[in-house]
């Protein structure tokens, strides 16, 4: 279909590019109340962009009708903006693992065994267990009229374990996650089980905290509250709209000097790993912040062209709509602090494990006020008990400037790798 579509497109449009994605996701879900569900979802999506008479248009389809999608893209171009795009030429793809045959070939018995192992290790105990295991296999093909025609296979396995317990009339839920291109190995599962057990033990005691501004240890599972605002502010689209508080500050300090952040699509086997972006730009690691100093923004082809910058390989396409710049694997560099150092740096404050609906209300500006659904009291440099549900508030950019300690072990949470961070001045009420 792709060769046919490109041939037809070449006759009616001056330039074009496309991304075809296929995916088959198998999910096993065991709920905390004992019900279960197994699903498989197969999907195909094609996104086409054409330039006709200097104007750009888009169309998407889940079907195979080349003439239909081309006709709709050309109709869209009739109304579109004048193109500023420079489609990339073909180039050699860098090596990166996006697909592990063992994970791709795993059948229901292997996936079920993985869930059974976690359930056996955690046992019934005092908590209700829930498990959600997802295994996706798929492919991405990117092509353009400049000669790019690249493809790669993808496999991804993610596991979410929940352990729920009612304490003082409040339902407390511990969550632990794993994700990667391969099936989780025994060591990863044991680590996950140990983490859930430790948290359940911490719920045995309750604690309180007065409202005010405190030091907080953000665990990696709570860091999206801060990092989402950073990612949005670093996107070329925010720079174009004038909504990014960071875009005009390249070369200056924008975060704590303890922080260095890179976006790396070439790290093996992670959710954002890929050798080429969805617009045909070859992937490379992009240092975003070094020692707190802003080095780069992320661009897709359009935002790069409009801002006179080079594309950074961050174009992401869904089936419908136009490409947008988006991070791949965002990696915050680990520091030196041990777990004891981190708690000592907090002194008297809290450990923040999970925030409800995390992500700032004002996404680019970074302000947030959200329920902290799982947080622990720290006193005298030790975890002393479970806190009631509090509201935590602040500004993500401000708090990322108030980092006082960086953990030495980074943890992957989805497509983000980050160590625990201690920040000063989180508002609690």
């Amino acid at each position: 279909m792709i060769a046919d579509l490109l041939e037809r497109t070449a006759r009616r449009a001056s330039h074009a590019d496309l991304a075809l994605k296929t995916d088959e996701t198998t999910t096993l879900q065991y709920t905390e109340r004992g019900s279960a569900c197994a699903t498989t979802a197969a999907a195909q999506g094609l996104n086409l962009r054409v330039v006709c008479e200097g104007r750009v248009g888009f169309a998407g389809s889940t079907g195979d009708d080349a003439e239909d999608i081309l006709g709709r893209a050309i109709e869209s171009a009739g109304l579109g903006e004048f193109s500023v795009l420079q489609l990339p030429p073909p180039a050699a793809l860098p090596a990166v693992i996006t697909h592990v045959p063992r994970a791709a070939a795993a059948g229901l018995p292997e996936l079920t065994a993985c869930c059974d192992l976690v359930r056996d290790r955690l046992g019934a105990g005092a908590a209700q267990l829930g498990l959600l295991l997802e295994r996706s296999i798929g492919s991405v093909r990117v092509a353009n009229t400049e000669g790019v025609d690249a493809s790669y296979d993808v496999s991804m396995v993610s596991l979410l374990v929940t352990a729920a317990r009612v304490s003082d009339g409040r339902r407390v839920v511990i969550e632990a996650r794993l994700s990667g291109s391969d099936l989780p190995v025994l060591q990863d599962l044991e680590h996950l089980v140990a983490m859930v057990r430790q948290r359940l033990a911490w719920t045995e005691r309750s604690a309180a905290l007065n409202a005010g501004r405190v030091r907080a240890l953000f665990l990696p599972s709570a860091l999206p509250t801060l990092l989402l605002a950073l990612e949005q502010a670093l996107a070329g689209s925010a720079a174009i709209h004038g909504t990014s508080p960071l875009a005009s500050r390249r070369g200056t300090r924008v975060l704590s000097d303890l922080l260095s952040v890179t976006d790396d699509p070439l790290v093996d086997g992670r959710p954002g790993s890929r050798p080429i972006d969805d617009e045909g730009v070859v992937s490379r690691p992009v240092p975003l912040v070094r020692g707190g100093v802003l080095e780069n923004l992320i661009f897709d082809l359009e935002t790069a062209a409009r801002l006179g910058a080079s594309p950074t390989g961050h174009g992401r396409r869904a089936t419908f709509g136009k490409p947008q710049p988006a991070c791949t694997n965002l990696m915050v560099e680990p520091g030196e602090a041990t777990w004891e150092d981190l708690l000592s740096a907090v002194g008297d404050g809290l450990v923040l494990e999970r925030v409800w609906n995390q992500g700032p209300a004002n996404m680019v500006g970074g302000t947030f006020a959200l329920p902290a659904v799982l947080a622990w009291r720290v006193s005298g440099g030790e975890v002393v008990g479970l806190l009631p549900e509090l509201t935590v508030a602040g500004n993500a950019h401000d708090l990322l400037n108030r980092v006082v300690a960086v953990g030495r072990e980074a943890l992957w949470v989805g497509s983000r790798s980050a160590p625990p961070l201690v920040v000063d001045g989180l508002s609690v009420f």
């Binding site: 096993l28 065991y30 709920t31 905390e32 109340r33 004992g34 019900s35 279960a36 569900c37 197994a38 699903t39 498989t40 979802a41 197969a42 999907a43 195909q44 999506g45 248009g57 888009f58 169309a59 998407g60 389809s61 889940t62 079907g63 195979d64 009708d65 239909d68 999608i69 709709r72 109709e75 869209s76 009739g78 109304l79 579109g80 903006e81 229901l108 079920t112 009612v166 009339g169 409040r170 339902r171 709209h241 089936t319 419908f320 709509g321 136009k322 409800w356 609906n357 329920p371 659904v373 549900e389």
Partner: protein
């Protein structure tokens, strides 16, 4: 299509098998300021098969495209067999029907050129941008859809529906002397191109409000008597009562079920709440749900007491009730769960002025920008407010956040006006496994004799 589905279902080996198909034509146009962000069309189709076997869980298989139904059912059957369950899943009975529901396409949007749709949005956007020098940015969008749905079961049910929908939304940013204010308005209809011609006022309202809020004072935190407009009260009920009534969510939340059992008083005698997926031509309306159950009007709260829940076939079957037609999924990719449709508060008597007249110093709260409900405690960001002094509406105020214990606040409901209306905003309600579904709320003006305000939302 009917024969294809019937042939596929004849091959199904599961105790219960069903298949749901969807084909959608969609248009999306968006402007950011005066710049066209995109004008695109899409065609999406797909199928989901679900199977259930005795002593096993649901097996679900979905794919894009409208072929291979027998293979999809076979896969769903295998998946069901792979997941044993501790408690058997019993599906409540529903009528086995064969029905076609052909909605009036109301000027079929598929026949309207993309350029004409863009011209409409461009005109509405330009009206905002040129209406006041203090308007510095807009984000406006137009979306239309025509969706065909087929649903068939191994019991012999076969249902077909075709329906249009259109959504318009405008976010407006006004700025003056370093102050920035936002206003948002949206409008949705289960109609077609003809309905859109009457939607001009949506965007003008957003523009006027964004500018007016620039000079509006902040509200001090405290307890205020307040009158809520239908949009604000509708949003409060959606968040507060609506989500509390979704039976499958409660199945997973034993603590919430224990705190809010049926029969518990949750508001004053004046409060009666329901959910009506069968109401005519509203964003949440459908003739049948995504399990084939007919939609209906379900009473959730009567005279302040919790009396009903919203059910799927499985949640109803577990407790020997009838399904309520609330099994909804955002698309063929998602599994149906018990979801809200068109949620309402029953009408009272009198007018909004009657309610305002008796307030010496309070707030008239309008619209809503979102809310949260956790552990019986809720917060609601209003869209804007006016101060009430000596029974009269006075200054515009920045949008206050109302927060507090749900039962306590609804217990303070002391008047319900007789001016009920449905809010036709383009609201989508999201849940992790069943996706985003269009919803709608309806309410008259209501009065609370005191509700806590956390200050303004800025």
């Amino acid at each position: 299509m009917k024969n294809l589905l019937a042939d596929a279902l004849r091959t199904a080996r599961a105790d219960h098998a069903e298949i749901r198909l969807e084909r959608t034509w969609a248009t999306a146009i968006a402007y950011r300021g005066s710049r066209l962000e995109g004008a695109t069309t899409g065609l999406e189709s797909g199928a989901m098969a679900r199977c259930l076997n005795r002593g096993r869980g649901w097996g679900v298989a979905s794919c894009t495209g409208l072929t291979g139904f027998a293979a999809l059912l076979s896969r769903a059957h295998e998946l069901s067999l792979a997941v044993p369950v501790e408690s058997p899943i019993a599906l409540a009975e529903i009528p086995v029907r064969t029905e076609d529901h052909l909605a009036d396409l109301d000027g079929d949007v598929r026949g309207v050129p993309l350029g004409e749709k863009r011209a409409l949005l461009e005109r509405l956007n330009q009206e905002i941008l040129s209406s006041d020098r203090r308007i510095v940015d807009t984000h406006v969008s137009y979306e239309d859809r025509v969706t065909e749905r087929w649903f068939a079961t191994s019991d012999g049910a076969f249902l077909y529906e075709i329906a249009p929908s259109v959504r318009l939304a405008a976010g407006v940013l006004a700025s003056e002397e370093g102050f920035v204010e936002r206003a948002f308005e949206s409008w949705a209809t289960r109609g077609g191109w003809r309905s859109v011609q009457s939607a001009d006022n949506v965007f003008r309202t957003a523009a006027r409000r964004a500018v007016a809020l620039l000079s509006a004072p902040r509200i001090k935190a405290g307890l205020y008597p307040m009158v809520l407009d239908p949009r604000c009260m509708g949003a409060l009920i959606h968040q507060g009562i609506g989500h509390l009534s979704e039976a499958d969510a409660l199945d997973e939340r034993a603590d919430v079920e224990a705190r809010f059992p049926l029969g518990k008083r949750i508001g004053s005698d004046l409060l009666t709440v329901g959910d009506d997926g069968s109401a005519s031509s509203l964003p949440g309306s459908r003739p049948f749900d995504d399990e084939g159950a007919p939609t209906q009007n379900t009473l959730l709260v009567q005279h302040g007491v919790l009396v009903g829940r919203l059910h799927t076939r499985a949640t109803a079957g577990r407790i020997g009730r009838r399904p309520t037609g609330n099994a909804r999924a955002g698309s063929f990719r998602e599994v149906p769960e018990a979801r809200l449709t068109n949620t309402y508060i029953a009408n009272g008597r009198g007018t909004a002025e009657d309610l305002i007249r008796d307030v010496r110093h309070g707030l008239y709260c309008c619209d809503a920008m979102g809310g949260e409900m956790r552990h019986g405690h809720f917060s609601l960001r209003t869209g804007y407010a006016q101060v009430i002094r000596d029974g009269q509406l006075t200054d515009l105020a920045r949008p206050p956040v109302i927060m507090g214990d749900l039962s306590e606040i609804l217990g303070r409901l002391d008047a319900v006006a007789g001016d009920f209306r449905w809010n036709q905003q383009a609201s989508l309600c999201a849940r992790a496994h069943s996706g985003r579904v269009p919803v709608c709320e309806g309410a008259p003006h209501v009065r609370l004799d005191g509700a806590p305000v956390a200050g303004d939302a800025t």
